[in-house]
């Protein structure tokens, strides 16, 4: 078996692709909305108003970094510590956007900027899963899904500020596990066969070793695992019988 070095993906008409992305992201958007409400509640407790939350959600558009930064602020850690924690969590996005480089290639600057800004773990992974299954999916699919996520994230975070008192905790509903389950399904779809075994075992070993030893925290462990697995794949012999 030969490992393909560069794959090209068919992309249909932009409008149809964007609509398909918007539809396919629905179950993930439901999970995002629960987190949005919870973040709005946290932000309200930190004294933020709905305008500040709406601006932050639409322009930062990275849920976990928003949560950790506001949580650090509330803990009295100071602005610098809050910024460092939030950005450290987002460093993995370098790898996320680099790994789908083909969709940003040969586009006007505004499309590259808009596409990069709308790239999140959820629609990135969904697009990759569709490529793995159907051999289709590109810029417009990612954009359609990203716009739905943006609308849901902004709407739910602002609602969370407004209705702060009435919001259930995501964990009590089991909703914290919605993303874990979603990424398990997407991992399964991304498994390309035996050639992935070495890279995946390397990634898993680095993450478990890093976290268990206490040498790195979660956000660095993700980066370490992703880079380590990719490095293995890059150095392994390309004919797949290593």
């Amino acid at each position: 078996m030969t490992v393909q070095e560069e794959t090209t993906f068919v992309t249909s008409e932009p409008r149809a692709e964007a609509l398909k992305g918007a539809r396919d992201i629905a179950p993930l958007a439901l999970g995002v909305s629960v987190y949005g409400l919870a973040f709005g509640l946290l932000a309200a407790q930190a004294g933020m108003n709905s305008l500040e939350v709406g601006l932050m959600s639409s322009l930062v558009f990275a849920g976990s970094s928003q949560i950790i930064a506001v949580e650090r602020l509330m803990a009295g850690a100071g602005a610098v510590a809050a910024i460092v924690a939030g950005l450290a969590l987002n460093l993995r996005l370098v790898l996320v956007t680099a790994s789908i480089r083909d969709i940003y290639a040969n586009r006007p600057l505004w499309q590259t900027v808009l596409g990069a800004h709308l790239t999140t773990d959820e629609n990135w992974a969904l697009m990759l899963a569709r490529r793995a299954r159907e051999g289709e999916g590109g810029y417009w699919y990612l954009l359609g899904a990203g716009l739905v996520l943006m609308a849901v994230w902004c709407g739910s975070t602002v609602l969370g500020v407004v209705f702060a008192a009435a919001i259930p905790e995501p964990r009590a509903l089991g909703m914290d596990f919605a993303f874990t389950a979603a990424f398990i399904a997407i991992s399964r779809a991304l498994w390309r066969g035996r050639a992935d075994l070495g890279p995946w075992l390397t990634a898993a070993a680095l993450v478990i070793g890093g976290v268990a030893s206490g040498l790195v925290d979660s956000s660095w462990a993700i980066i370490l695992g992703g880079l380590g697995g990719a490095l293995y794949a890059g150095l392994a012999r390309p004919n797949g019988n290593q």
Binding site: L87, N90, A125, T180, D196
Partner: protein
């Protein structure tokens, strides 16, 4: 500028910079050979790392729910079905087990 506004502004600029840096870096790397193989393997390794970190933050109940979700993913290949089984399983395990 309040502390909150400073954090919001820094996260806006920093996060967009990170996203664009990745897109730009991807264009610079060669499209054949080891670099291409590494970039093609990156998404799967990154998502797997994300899942493992999520699971190391949980305990046996989360691991059991994850196993049920994985079984659902292998059998049905359906994202909504896997999410539904995972959420229902963890809610039942946490409340009744």
């Amino acid at each position: 500028m309040s502390e909150t506004h400073l954090v919001i502004a820094a996260l806006i600029v920093g996060t967009l910079t990170v996203r664009l840096a990745g897109a730009a870096l991807g264009q610079k790397l060669p499209s054949r050979g080891g670099w291409a193989r590494a970039l093609n393997a990156l998404p799967g390794c990154l998502i797997l790392s994300l899942v493992i970190v999520m699971l190391t933050n949980g305990g046996p109940k989360e691991w059991l729910a994850a196993a049920l979700a994985l079984a659902t993913a292998v059998i049905t290949k359906s994202l909504p079905a896997t999410m539904a089984v995972g959420v229902v399983a963890i809610a039942l395990l946490r409340n009744f087990a």
